[in-house]
Amino acid sequence: MTMIGKSVDRREDDRLLTGKGRYLDDLELPGTLHAAFLRSPHAHARILAVDAAAARQAPGVVAVFSGADLPEIQKPLAPKVMHPKLKDFPRLPMPPEEVHYVGEPVAIVVAESRYLAEDALELIEVDYETLPAVASTAAALAENAPLAHSGADDNIAVTLVQRSGNTDEVLKSAPHTLSGEFFVMRGGGHSMEPRAVAARFEPATGQVTIWDTTQSPHYARQQLSVIYEMAEDDIRVIAPADVGGGFGPKAQFYGEEVVVPWVAIKLGRTVKWVEDRQENFVSTMMERSQTHRIEVGFDDDGHLLAVRDYIEHDQGAYCAGLQVPSITTSTVPGPYRIPNIHTELYACYTNMVPTSSVRGAGRPQAVFAMERMMDRVAEYLELDPAEVRRRNLIQADEFPYRVGIMFRDGSPLTYDSGNFPKLLEGTLERLGYEEARARQERARAEGRYVGIGIAVYVEGCGLGPYEGAKVRLTNQGKILVTLAAAGQGQGYETVYAQIAADALGLDMEHIEVATGDTSRIPFGQGTFASRITATAGPAVFDAALQMRERLVDTAAQLLGCDPAGLSFSGDRATLDGDPEKSMSLLDIARVANIGKHGITLPVGIKPGIETVSYFAPERAAYASGAHAAIVEVDPDTGAIDVQNYVIGHDCGNVINPRLVDGQVLGGFAHGIGNAMYEEPFYDAEGQPQAASYLDYSLVSATEVPPVELFHMHTPSPLNPLGVKGAGEGGTIPAPAAIANAVEDALRPLRARIDRAPVTPARISDAVYSAVKG
């Protein structure tokens, strides 16, 4: 192996640094019309009438459609992850009768420019009958709560119980029990490039081409083929080479993705819609909002005996899938040995924008609840929080470790590999834990509030069902690696060329990588859940190994030698390094791929050099990590100063260390946002109150504290590359680590930090209630 494990420069960078990126809105699509959506101003309302006559007459307007004008596409967008007990309310692309959140699309205007389309939006009259709205899970579950969907019995989407052991009994008999209630706030993906869709119909072939900023082009095509009742082959979905960040929301499927191409088909014109930031705030899926009521039973030494967690999950107005809450329930146990576990999930409908995965996907909430309780156990027993963790961690020789409950991929939750104790110790050592405790003592003596927070986690990643790769010798004599997976800045063009280079024994310069186009590879799932390196990675490796064999075989036939004697030098297969006995990739392509029209192939040559491999992991792989922070808190203002932060990270083998660091550090910034800043408030009527970056704070370079990052590499036995996922580890434990550190700082006051983000106002409140007693 020479390329795997190397911090190679990214191939993507030159075009991105010079303004030559090809983001969706940059693509040259001649004759394009521009679309704008009219969105519901109400959280819950019945649509009585839509009058678009004036809008249709407005300058530059080509067409206006309300939901009722497009009955043929008013079919439910299916939840990604279902459950037989799910009470599903149809999520329609553009509902004609009832809207369920502010921002839900009600009508589309297509015009010569976005300016003109927006002008016309204002001329559309919609007669609404407003209905009572639900804007939190607490409101959703309250007695006599208003109904988020008229005609429902209640606001519960599903109740799911996961059990192992006998939690009820053990909690009754445990020497000690403690309980806590924790809340994690909603938050968004906030990719810097908002969502966008463009579509062009070819009447001559009946095919529609769709450019979509999606993380999952094949998934989008699948959905569209069902809704449009069209063959998949007539729908081509392309995720452009450059997509400006994904982070989960772009892996979901939205009404706009159905409406825009359909309108393009109807009008026979190219139509483009680019979401603006205002729309992104109200119509792009969010995540996170959960309340955990957790109870733990433990012995005198702090060994956990049982954990019970009641979880309220905010599903938003519709269920886009149960992936997030199911990930939450299986993340609760984390890196600890817990003989008895009981989780009970109440996923609720509310009248807010639907929720689905955002970087971390259900894990930060579970880690928040569990890690807060680990600190509470330590406090109760007057033990060191690090020591309580040590006593409960699954040990390095216990893998594969069966947790006793199921993971969301449908398999029993089984950790494949890891070394949690070493990860924790490494993190504490780099933080200077003992010294930090001593410093904390001195600070306290001076009346200063310094705290240390630790959070350890396990992340299921590399999920199935499969991902694939196609490798072809092109007629230009290059090796083209095609992935179904679409990148959003992870560096796929570089990473998969590295993997292919090693398998082929060829230099990277002869290898090209293409991604995210359903017409180039038939099957795929998409980029989400930190899964691509562990699924597409092995597929690329295997397809490239097969390719090497084909190339060498063909060259050997042509050179009349034994394939074993051949190796590559530059783009030539040579025998014992003899340039006389060599063939270039182009020579091979000329014979085996291009051939001579109508002439029989030379004996022994197999035609068409293309190899394909699909990799289906047996189950999810588990990355792990530990975060630790030292903070100082000003109890008067609630300000937090993060003085030191260390991340220990284990995602198995690493293909390109620099890019993995980038993933973790980027995720960490997102985690700090969730921990301290990001909060999309809704009022009690379901009106979003933070719908611009003036009210919703994204962290900038001054807010993200400097951080020390180190890696361990426990290979996964589940794939031949030994890799796991790295996209979310920086995010998952950050809110827990910060909240633990802040509560630890305020321990002399016994102030309780139960909610994330931990904002100055929340800290002041906590201090006030503690002091008031």
């Binding site: 303004g19 983001y23 990719s191 800045g489 890019l659």
Partner: protein, 153 residues
């Protein structure tokens, strides 16, 4: 429709523009300089930053008509036939970009700042970067790139 004459990346343009056309849309749609990106259109993210008469400006908050008589520089002006400029090289070396959507704005903000004064320490670098938002990188590579390019000056 006002007629404007504006120099963009050294090239003069005479154009009739709608009163309300933003400078960002003018650059992107009229001149097809699509390196300037729109991330928020309300002046916070900085993705649309360009240099107008020497100052870093958010092109989403400026009208094309206001650029009449101005010299505008966009990300497309940074590299030349010999390749990336030192700041771009530093971005590449320090992995200061992932999806790259925010990158042109950062490059232009930092370019303007470095013309004003050298950037010598991490705090100063973070200050200069704080007018732009990047959701992907976590900023460490950006800070290193700015320090590197600042030192190279």
């Amino acid at each position: 429709m006002p007629e404007i004459s504006v120099t963009v990346n050294g090239e003069p343009h005479e154009e009739a523009v709608d009163d309300r056309l933003t400078l960002a849309d003018f650059l992107r749609e009229r001149l097809r300089l699509t390196g300037t990106h729109l991330g928020c259109e309300h002046g916070v993210c900085g993705a649309c930053t360009v240099i107008v008469d020497g100052a870093a400006v958010r092109s989403c908050l400026m009208l094309a008509a206001q650029a009449d008589g101005a010299e505008v520089e966009t990300v497309e002006s940074l590299a030349d036939d010999h390749g990336l400029n030192p700041l771009q090289e530093a971005f590449k070396k320090h992995h200061a970009l992932q999806c790259g959507f925010c990158t042109p704005g950062f490059l232009m903000s930092v370019t303007a700042a470095l013309r004003e004064e050298p950037i010598e320490d991490a705090d100063q670098a973070r200050d200069v970067l704080s007018g732009n938002i990047c959701r992907c990188t976590g900023y460490r590579g950006l800070v290193q790139a700015v320090l590197d390019a600042g030192a190279a000056k």
